[in-house]
Amino acid sequence: MMTCIHCDEPVLTALFSEEDEQKRLPFCCYGCLTVYQVLHDKGLETYYEIKKSSALHKRRAPVDIKQTQFQFLDDTNFLAEYALVGMSGEKTMEFYLEGIHCLACLWLIEKLPDILDTVATSKLNLDRSVVTVVLRPRGKFSAVARELNNLGYRPHPIKKNQDIESFKIQEERSFLMRIGVAGAAAGNIMIYAVSLYGGASGEYAQLFNSLTVVFAIPVLTYCALPFYRNAWNAIKNRTLSIDIPISTALLMGAMMGIFNLLRGIPENYFDSLTALVFLLLLSRYFLQKIQEKGLSAQDLHYFYSSESVLKVSESGTEEIHPKFIKMNDVLKIRPGEIIPADGIVLDGTSHLNNSLLTGESFPVKVHVGDPVFSGTQNIDQYLLMRANLIKDETRLGKILKNVENGWAHKSHIVNVAGHVSKYFTLVVFALSFILFIYLYQISDTKHALEQALTLLIVTCPCALALAIPLTFTRSLSKASEQGIIIKNDEVIEKLSQIKNIFIDKTGTLTYGKLQINEIVLFQDSLIPVEDIIFNLEINTRHPVGLALLEHVKKKIPRKWAVTDRQELLGIGVSGKIEGRFYEIKKDKILEDGILIATFEVEDTIRLDSKDTITNLIKKNLNVKILSGDKNEVVQKIAILAGLPSINALSDLSPEKKSLLIRSTPHSMMVGDGANDAIALSEADVGVAVLGAMDISLRAADVYLTTPGLIPVEKLITLSRETMKIIHRNIALSLIYNSLSVTAAFMGLINPLVAAIIMPLSSLTVLLSTFVGTKTLRNLWK
């Protein structure tokens, strides 16, 4: 199959660039083609060479270029909040870019100063998809945003929240410093520990031993502070965390080491313990890093209300940011734009796509005086509206509030680590106590205490504490390579327990836009039906007209001269070609009043939906459709998806959807619109699909950046297999721990044995993590 040159999406019916007739480069959509032409015109085709050889390659979606001028970016109010102005007048702003996916993107974005001479520098952070643009004093951010938009990366300005950001950066840097210090100290301690094991004696033994203590002190205080903090918090909240046995081991180790130093016995466990601190910090750092890449609440602010809107006032029309809309403002809504406030139509007639707010798949017509709601999309004509309700008071705003409440409702599970450490801690403490009692009876107190403490040190669940974050890190990062962004490790655990999957219809099971299935011919006409449609609908903005046009474009229709072309809103189009009178009315095509063809418009089901649903059912999952659309439409889709009609629920309001979810345990919701948002936030796992509204992205735990349902199936497999590895790792580390307990009871334990068992157990679980399972290895292929 061909793949799109620009976005690598497989294409059935490709578009070809017109300029390069010989090259015949396939594109999936006009968006991608346009970007190709922009790059071609600017002589930036190297982009495609770099892309081909790029090792880093995330999946991305086809380009969707929005027609907007970004004038609001030059507004002084806006700049005050979003930009930083430097000493010599240069301005800095950050944009989150949609569509960043490979090395070539980096190359292209950092070429900005060559393309626009007002740009001083442009630095992209690939990890966060954030570009920092520094403008020369007289430059305009609107020009930068337009250029980025034309290159196929939709920019969303990021508000500078310096307090939060600098705090986060400080935290991260101090984490790194802890890792560095722990690593250096552990390495140095190892040198002296090996000399001690190797038989250093007398003065040297004393010297080396004191050196290990000196090195261990910063590790066990400064570097290990996060463990102590977590353990303390867990104790305060009367919960058990894996950090409690770790902290116990570290503190006991420190006590014994210092005590032995004072007694002049060159024996301590600092080599094992410092290496452990280093490895644990490292594994937690990786997990934290990968989660930052995902859906942090902060990132989602980028998406929220970052489109511009036209405000009409006495002084003329200006482009403003939706944040600055006030009550009773008159707004001009362009075709294709999302309505930013609730209000009333003042002028114009158009169709609205309510699917994101209500789930209805068919457009609704609005006239002067009709109410319109924030979050619906204007389809075909300009509308003038007065804003009656703004921000939180709109229907969408209220949903958003409910979403936030939903988060509070959301169930939290006791995670695997917490669960295991609960029993682990109890067992280890009990065992040390038993050992103490046992040795107390056969020898003296000092020896008994020493051995009991040693047991606490050597049973430190290091392999466990290391393996769990690493397994999650690996799964999260592999998933993100496949375009599945998972919020955190807890989501994976919850996913593995899912029993019910609720799927939204419009935009999730279906493509979310009207399409023509087939044109049924009744009678021959003078010119082919395709030509009639093409020539009559060529300038249409009506959703049915667009669907027709899209359908016939693949057949390469001919151009004819049309006279008396007329478009009647809500009825259809008509015109004369070659002396005959043609009409396209509702679902009929007529020639001189005689029916020649009919067609059916519907929101068609995605090609992969049925297979995916069948596979999900095979995995013992209960799959249901939840839709706000009408019953007949939903039933039809249910049949196509291979689901019994009792599993297709229709006419549901956002609140009803969320009620259903709340009453079903172990549920997962897959959806895209605002009408799904509350349900997404209340489900155990909410999955937002590509093209989802910002509000549902906020509500979701998982975001799929590739279209269709296939990733949902992957998600289930991924979580189940990940949990298998976790359980295997727990078993492995428990085996090592029982070995060390046995050794301790037999009196065989000493620092050297610990220095062998501890790294060996860690190594085993690491190996187990990276080998994974067969199914997982296949999934990553």
């Binding site: 770099i50 980096l106 992209l124 990890d127 950066i169 840097r173 210090v181």
Partner: protein, 60 residues
């Protein structure tokens, strides 16, 4: 073995210098973005390749 009296402080000093350098770099923000620089480094080479292929084309 007496040489240890000289070597040990030297080793410790060297280690200390590296730890200090690391802390300095971390504080300066050198590790804030761990992803992009490694790719950025590759791109300069790519540009050179582009220029040379262009000049070959021009000669033809």
């Amino acid at each position: 073995m007496e040489v240890i009296i000289v070597l040990l402080p030297l080793a410790l000093l060297l280690g200390g210098v590296f730890v200090a350098a690391f802390i300095w770099a971390a504080k300066k923000g050198q590790y804030d973005d761990l992803e992009t620089p490694r790719f950025r480094m590759l791109l300069d080479d790519q540009n050179i390749i582009k220029k040379t292929t262009l000049s070959i084309k021009d000669m033809k």
